[in-house]
């Protein structure tokens, strides 16, 4: 008994059983599952769209190569311009949040770590709140200023936390977490301050945005997000082996010749860049980055070469399903997707905490 537990613990820690075959098998499976979820969720919406309309619109797009709304028909516009981009956006955001969650949990060796723990998301939210308070709705270089402000806010929070946590050129994990918690509290207070001085109708809009909402971006914007997420994913995948070693402890990593401080800094900056971008387009969507990596780790082990892409796909599916619930359950009204993810993810996390303690890293 003792022995089997040890073996299992070992298996979970190192993912020693990861073979090329298992890797491709799991990822292919998840790829198909993702495609199935995307197709399935695109069938649900506040308005029922006839399949014939969708096919006609698709055919029109394929033959003319134009997404011009006026020639697509209402059903086609609803499907191609509202529902589909939003589902794809959900997949990207969910995937990015889960990947960042995996990375941070490995870096901080803390199961509670998720994209929100470092205060970067609060920084992004504060930036966006400021943009709303100042009534900035203008666009710069075709970019709406709200995401831009969110992004700058996230970066600013990151730089601040860096200065706070750094000591003698190193980034100790406990001071990073502590600084994150404190910074989070300060930034949240500032957001509350902004909502309290805003005209009530506008602060309601801001609160709704902060609660997390996926919007349907235009395809050019979606393409930018795809490129962004793809780039970050590639870099993270490249670091997967290093993450494996880092979870064993920094001393181990250093003894293996890894420049831990440099790797840590690179990864923190990277996760902050993703978090800032994600928050600035979708508000605060919690629990995806925390719960999904745990669930996936329980099922496939903790080798980051597999865990990272698998979590990203499961995170994407989780958010797409959550958002489908959010946009249909009270149709024609919607509820903030952050509520759905928290209500689904929170109890699951408690379950992990209470009954599966032995399986957490």
């Amino acid at each position: 008994m003792q022995n089997s537990q040890e073996v299992r613990a070992q298996w979970h820690r190192t993912g020693a059983m990861l073979t090329r075959r298992r890797w491709s098998l799991v990822l292919t499976g998840l790829l198909f599952a993702s495609a199935a979820v995307l197709v399935l969720c695109s069938q649900f919406g506040a308005v029922s769209v006839q399949l014939a309309d969708v096919l006609a619109a698709l055919w029109h797009v394929l033959t003319t190569g134009s997404l011009d709304a006026s020639s697509l028909g209402t059903g086609g516009v609803i499907f191609l311009q509202v529902r589909l981009p939003r589902i794809l956006m959900g997949f990207l955001v969910g995937g990015a949040l889960a990947a960042v969650g995996v990375t941070l949990q490995a870096l901080l060796r803390n199961p509670l770590a998720d994209p929100y723990v470092l205060g970067v998301s609060s920084g992004a939210a504060l930036g966006a709140s400021l943009a709303m308070l100042l009534g900035i709705g203008t666009t710069v270089l075709l970019l709406p200023l709200l995401p831009l402000f969110g992004f700058i806010g996230g970066l600013f929070a990151l730089m601040l936390i860096y200065r706070l946590a750094q000591s003698q050129g190193r980034l100790p994990i406990h001071s990073l977490l502590l600084a994150g918690v404190i910074l989070n509290a300060i930034l949240t207070a500032l957001i509350m301050f902004i909502t309290s001085i805003m005209e009530p109708n506008r602060s309601a809009g801001l609160m709704a945005w902060l609660m997390g909402s996926l919007i349907a971006p235009g395809y050019p914007a979606l393409a930018v997000i795809v490129i962004y997420v793809a780039f970050v994913s590639a870099v993270l995948m490249h670091k997967a082996q290093v993450l494996n070693v880092l979870t064993q402890g920094e001393e181990t990593a250093q003894s293996l010749g890894i420049d831990t401080e440099r790797v840590k800094k690179q990864l923190y900056v990277l996760t902050a860049l993703v978090t800032g971008a994600v928050v600035s387009v979708s508000g605060m969507i919690g629990f995806v980055g925390m719960v999904v990596p745990h669930a996936v780790r329980m099922m496939i082990g903790s080798d980051h070469r597999l865990l990272l892409p698998a979590s990203a796909m499961v995170g994407g599916m989780f958010l797409v399903v959550s958002d489908t619930i959010a946009r249909t359950i009270f149709a024609p009204a919607e509820i903030p997707v952050g509520i759905v993810t928290a209500l689904a993810g929170g109890p699951f996390f408690l379950y992990l905490l209470l009954w599966r303690k032995d399986r957490m890293i």
Binding site: G73, T74, A204
Partner: protein, 297 residues
């Protein structure tokens, strides 16, 4: 449904005369005013407007920072909105506080009751409530004649607009309270009532809540003829946010270039400028019907 009970309480004059100086507010609380209030604090812009409109402006000593109409109101001491400073409030020595329920915290009411400062709470703020509130303020402040006259005048204005828009083809309207995420007004909200009175059909009519986050899919399907944006200094939708709606080029409103603006304070405040608000809405919905004789009045 919820409002009916209150309508009975404030709508029937004989009940108030059981004791001429005691009043029942929308929360069902009974307050007793030994003498006519002479130092009033208003904790809502709409209340400030109503008090000034019946000629009680001189008695108003404190307002919120959003009370900007009539312009004299800005000269009064300013208290916070949802979170008024209790010390400033007490220092003004009010003998009546009128406050909307939605932004009033229970502990504040408790504290004021403890300090024996009468608080009159407005809970229901639909079109009919504007009239009953004006009436009640008139009785409280011995300005019943003025209040009745104002009420009559407003009813006439509303009736005129109703006759004007009666024959016209209904116009489908989307009121954009917030763009991203899209928040609009649904049944049970004051603005939804105004849209209906001005001859418009709210596209969010099937919503179960008063301020729903409406699905964009539904907007595209319901296809509004007019997109209505509230505008103002402290509130409203910015110009570029309005222009962003043009990407939904299948909407009739976009095709016909019917992106319209209306001052947010007119629609947000259930008060004496309801006639003005309805007139503006009716002009936007039925521009061809504007030059009726009633305009010359």
């Amino acid at each position: 449904m919820k409002r009916r009970q209150q309508g009975i309480l404030t709508g029937m004059p004989f009940m108030a005369h059981v004791s001429s100086r005691s009043f029942v507010d929308d929360a069902g609380r009974r307050i007793y005013l030994a003498k006519t209030p002479s130092r009033i604090i208003s904790l809502a812009p709409s209340v400030t407007e109503m008090l000034f409109a019946i000629g009680a402006g001189a008695q108003v000593v404190g307002v919120t920072q959003f009370c900007d109409y009539p312009p004299e109101a800005t000269q009064r001491a300013k208290l916070g909105y949802g979170n008024p400073n209790i010390e400033t409030l007490v220092a003004l020595q009010p003998d009546l506080i009128v406050a909307p329920q939605e932004f009033l915290k229970p502990d504040l009411i408790g504290k004021l009751e403890q300090l024996k400062i009468p608080v009159f709470i407005l809970a229901d703020r639909m079109v009919e409530d504007v009239f009953s509130h004006i009436q009640t303020f008139g009785r409280m402040l011995d300005l019943s004649t003025e209040a009745t006259a104002l009420g009559m005048d407003l009813r006439q204005q509303i009736a005129r607009i109703k006759t004007r828009t009666q024959g016209a083809a209904p116009v489908r309207v989307l009121y954009v309270l917030n763009s991203e995420p899209l928040i609009t007004v649904g049944p049970g909200s004051y603005i939804d009532q105004l849209i209906g009175l001005a001859g418009g059909i709210n596209v969010a009519v099937k919503s179960a809540t008063a301020y729903p986050r409406l699905s964009m899919e539904v907007v595209l399907q319901e296809n509004p003829d007019i997109l209505l944006f509230p505008v103002g200094t402290a509130e409203g939708i910015s110009e570029s946010e309005q222009q962003a709606w043009r990407k939904w080029s299948t909407l009739t409103a976009v095709k016909r270039n019917n992106l319209r603006q209306i001052p947010a304070d007119l629609l947000n405040r259930p008060g004496p400028r309801i006639g003005k608000a309805l007139e503006l809405l009716a002009d936007l919905f039925h521009p061809s019907a504007t030059s009726l004789p009633s305009e010359n009045h």
